[in-house]
Amino acid sequence: MDAADYVNLIVSALLLAGIYAAMSVGMTIVYGVMKIVNLAHAGFLMLGAYFVLELYERLNIDPLLGSVLAFPVFLVAGMLVHWLLVRRVPVSDQPTLASLLLMFGLWLVLQNLGYLIWGNSDRSILTPRTLSSIHFGPITVPTVRLLVFIPAVCSLGLLELVLRKTWYGRAVRALMQNRYAGRLTGIPVEKMARLTFGVGIGFAGAAGGLLAQLYSFSPDFGRGFLLRSFVIIVLGGLESFWGAAAGALVLALVETFSILVLPAGYQPAIAFSLLVVALVLFPGGIAGIFAKKRRWA
């Protein structure tokens, strides 16, 4: 392997990191504001993939556009789910088992609805773009990866803008730090929770659509990505967006370069092992380690 190959791998990892970050940010925001570990995130990733697939195959809508359209659709769906189910479960400042099991039940329902509707064969989104590559000098990038990366990063940038500049964003950050205090300062917590859950699901749907252009998928699609999302969140610290971005980068790099040392079949185990290692060694994530350094000053 020469330098160009290494650079290709790094670029590959970077592009992957972008999409991984977009995929996991939905879980981060739901966890941060509501302390709910949203296992159903996987189900919505899967539904997002099929949503974009159907739009493409029936209405000939470009998958990239489809992914963008998925966001508002899934935002509304998420708010509906919150209104129907999630708000009935007690929430606290610590994640509860009840919410975990509830979201797990929802995921089971979504996944198996998927099987019922679409069967269990693998599907893919094939466009003329799928097999082409772009060359930047010695670097070769599959076109799809680059094109998927752009909306992913844009959405993250947009989210960051919203969090910093808007009232909603400030409220979200306040609630992430202290729910009760937020309530006391007049933040309408339940409405915020509903909107935030919707945003999280919106990201899930859109990310699912983007991922569907990179990988083939079946109704079981979400599971591998669910675990990857956990790794990212745990690596990055469960309540920090930049931490989640860092976590996505770490995971993407490890996964991409692991091909050099491990047989391909073991690759899925990497995310899982990394998850366990991360949970055990860094309960606060990478961001938590940095926070620790400040703590005992």
């Binding site: 400040r294 703590r295 005992w296 000053a297």
Partner: protein, 242 residues
């Protein structure tokens, strides 16, 4: 008399904030030692560290001469140091009796055979005999405090850490609890007692340690503390002391 508990230059920082700074004092065997101070002085933090629920940033704690600075709370219980909680934490899914049963079985005594009799005795002692089979969740605050004491007694402690056992109680209830504490001391149990209620402190304690802003302000017999201008100032402000 040799000191049962020695606290030496104890420090505790939370995220850069000093909850306890250089706290040192001794508790002699057989004493009832009071620990007082305004809200936020660090009393419960100190308690939690001695009891093993929290570890200190630096400093030394010895119990019967042994270094126990970083022990865990279940180790403390096995060694004879038991604590009550300021905000009661009964096991709500169990009955009153079962709460004491667990404590008896896993505390220092590791009793066998005569369990039921011992549990009944302990419940009678604290005045909960009639509530033995009611769910712990149904107890009123005063009875929950008694349950906390019952659980500690089940562990046959040598050093009992009481955290505000009188808060939230009526006058009568409080007298009953103080009487109970005195009875416990008569059995040879040393008591370290955090309390806000001055009457309780003055009437039961042999010596008092005063904390303020995480540091030891002073210590001494109750009467001396009561009249110490620095203590009055800590609680009431400068003009009151003048």
């Amino acid at each position: 008399m040799p000191s049962l508990l020695l606290v030496d230059r104890l420090n505790k920082y939370f995220a850069g904030l000093a909850a306890l700074k250089d706290v040192s004092f001794e508790v002699e065997e057989g004493q009832i030692c009071g620990l007082i101070g305004p809200n936020g002085a660090g009393k419960t933090t100190l308690f939690s560290i001695i009891a093993g629920s929290v570890s200190p940033s630096s400093g030394l704690i010895t119990y019967s001469g042994k270094d126990v600075t970083r022990w865990k709370s279940f180790q403390a219980v096995r060694a004879g140091v038991a604590r009550t909680h300021q905000v009661t934490r009964p096991f709500r899914s169990m009955t009153t009796r079962q709460n004491v049963e667990v404590a008896l079985h896993f505390g220092r005594s590791n009793a066998r055979g005569s369990d039921a009799r011992q549990v009944a005795e302990i419940l009678e002692d604290v005045g909960l005999g009639h509530m033995a089979d009611k769910p712990a969740a149904s107890l009123c605050v005063g009875d929950q405090k008694r349950l906390e004491l019952a659980r500690t007694l089940a562990a046959k402690p040598k050093l009992l850490l009481c955290d505000e056992v009188c808060s939230g109680l009526t006058e009568t209830e409080m007298n009953g609890v103080l009487e109970l504490l005195r009875r416990i001391r008569e059995r040879g149990v040393t008591i370290l007692y955090v309390e806000h209620n001055m009457r309780a402190i003055m009437s039961t304690c042999d010596q008092v340690v005063v904390l303020n802003f995480g540091q030891k302000l002073t210590e001494g017999p109750p009467l001396k503390i009561q009249n110490d201008p620095a203590v009055i100032e800590a609680y009431l402000g400068r003009t009151a002391a003048a």
